[in-house]
Amino acid sequence: MNATLILGTALSAVGTNKLRTSLTLLGIIIGVSSVITLIGIGRGSQSAITSQIESLGTNILFVSPALTADGSLNSFTLEDVIALENREIAPDISAVAAESSVNALFVAGRNETNAQVVGVTSNYFDVRDFEIAEGRGFNTADVIIGTDVVILGSQLAPALFGNVDAVGQMVKINGREFSVIGVLAPKSGFGLENNRAMMPITTAVTRVGGGASGLATSVSQISVQAVSTDRINFAFNQIRLALSLENESGFDPENAGFDVTNQADAVETLESTNDTFVVFLGAIAGISLVVGGIGIMNIMLVSVTERTREIGIQRAIGATKKVILAQFVSEATIMSIGGGVIGVIVGTAISFLVDGASIGTLDMNTEFSPDIAVLALAVSAVIGLGAGIYPAFRAAALDPIEALRHE
């Protein structure tokens, strides 16, 4: 008895009832392709989010105001920023950048739009990895003086000036004239990143926002760059020390008046959330794969009943139980592997079609994972084998005499 005969018999049985076989295959195809597509989407969004966060730099710590001991919300000023730049207290901090945001009305000729003005210190561009595509940035002197200059985001510039080069133009922000000295390079992000303007923090707070000037200039968030990723824990403690000393108050870890968060923490939190999401999607798809397997088992049981006489004939002319068993198991496995292969092709095709498409404001990013394709294929083969074994045993256990009498 040879394998070609077993496979040949199984193939001809699969090929005889084409509609039935196709419908059975469909169950596995849907299962496998949805596993591949859904996990592809899950992983794609995961890596998109991770890469966005990582592009901010993993050696960055964010310091934001929090509740103080007396229960009021703390606020930062440029004095706090200067305190963090004390290298004797904070030797592991390499740069400190401050920002303070104000919403403002932008007017240029007939165009007007609302956008966020982000007042920043001059090193903000380096620390937070913003690039200037056209024109120039500003320096420390601009921040100290509070020059009336503005750098527009890559979406904001064409919104105000259309196709005209924005650099060198004037724009009115909350009624005050500012000269555009540069345009930022587009940055991938959550949508708002490119529709805003940057200017010296002093200018933004006092001239646009109407707040206090000089060292009392308020700061909404401080970005601290550690000298390296592995020194980040030292930098973390040095921030707490520097700010506590500066406030001349005793250090209360519960209500210090500020929060320090780590970029790596954020990545980790998001990744673990996303892992759950991917597992959840995979489980839903896996269920449909199991349902497909049940379909195979069902059709195999029908097939055994229909072919009882045929089994009896084969047993009479020399087929052993093993041969009958092998025929039905391979029939189920051929169906599940066939469905699995088609499912991988369909799933991969859907992944590529969906990649880059937008559903509302959500950009779909899919990532084809060969490991998941192999896994889905292997799982479908195992499911087919499992679904085939019970019907095959029933076929093999048939009494040849009874089977021959079966009408």
Partner: protein, 241 residues
């Protein structure tokens, strides 16, 4: 003296039906020599089918011993019995029992494949088809053949493995007179020209009269075992006993 093809010693076959023991065969002794052609007759319920199943190694006796070509079949397991069926026994059924999805040639080739016997299987199958005069129908499926032709394909399948005997169970039960004559003629020819042992189970007297020897079963026992000469002259063993 050569070893008999079939040697049955005190074969009994009991079935349990609703707590009652039914005796389908009740002590059958039978010897069939190589090259014989024998008819097994008897009314329904006489144990014909049970005897047929035991001779065909599809069923095992409750008591007694069965030697096929001198080998005790009672000691064999299921796999070995399957192999004996495939290599030493050629079945011909009343309902032809060809596999509908396969061509005539593939049907004839199947026992060779199942038992892994022979090298040039296709040629051997073609020869067997030619032996029954159906080489021009090799690529037809059973549904494209007449009843007589299907039975000839079944005979070709039964002889392709060069078995010790052909077991034919009511081979003409579904056929008209012309086809019946052709099938019986073919079995006789295989017996006479090729020396194949043939056992035919039948309830038709004219089929039985075409064999040299006929046994009669009743209630699980052999009640007569006659040669054609004895039957012609009314000298039944049972009558003379």
């Amino acid at each position: 003296m050569t070893t008999p093809v079939i040697e049955l010693n005190g074969i009994k076959r009991h079935y349990l039906m609703g707590g009652e023991t039914v005796s389908a065969l009740d002590g059958v002794d039978l010897t069939v020599e190589k090259g014989e052609m024998i008819a097994v007759m008897g009314p329904s319920g006489s144990g014909k089918s049970t005897l047929m199943n035991i001779l065909g190694c599809l069923d095992t006796p409750t008591a007694g011993r069965y030697f096929l070509d001198g080998a005790d079949v009672g000691t064999l397991n299921d796999d070995q019995l399957s192999r004996v069926r495939g290599r030493q026994i050629g079945f011909v059924f009343q309902g032809y029992n060809l596999l509908p999805r396969m061509t005539a040639l593939a049907n004839v080739e199947l026992p060779l494949k199942l038992t892994g016997k022979g090298k040039n299987r296709r040629a051997a199958a073609m020869n067997a088809l030619a032996r029954v005069g159906l080489e021009d129908r090799a690529n037809h499926r059973p549904s494209e053949l007449s009843g007589g032709q299907q039975q000839r394909v079944a005979i070709a399948r039964s002889l392709v493995n060069e078995p010790s005997m052909i077991l034919a169970d009511e081979p003409t039960g579904n056929l008209d007179t012309t086809s019946t004559e052709a099938i019986i003629g073919l079995l006789q020819d295989l017996n006479r020209s090729d020396g194949i042992t043939v056992v035919v189970v039948t309830h038709e007297d004219d089929v039985a009269s075409s064999t040299k020897r006929a046994i009669r079963l009743l209630d699980g026992k052999i009640i007569s075992d006659d040669t054609v000469e004895q039957r012609l002259f009314g000298l039944s063993q049972a009558a003379s006993a």
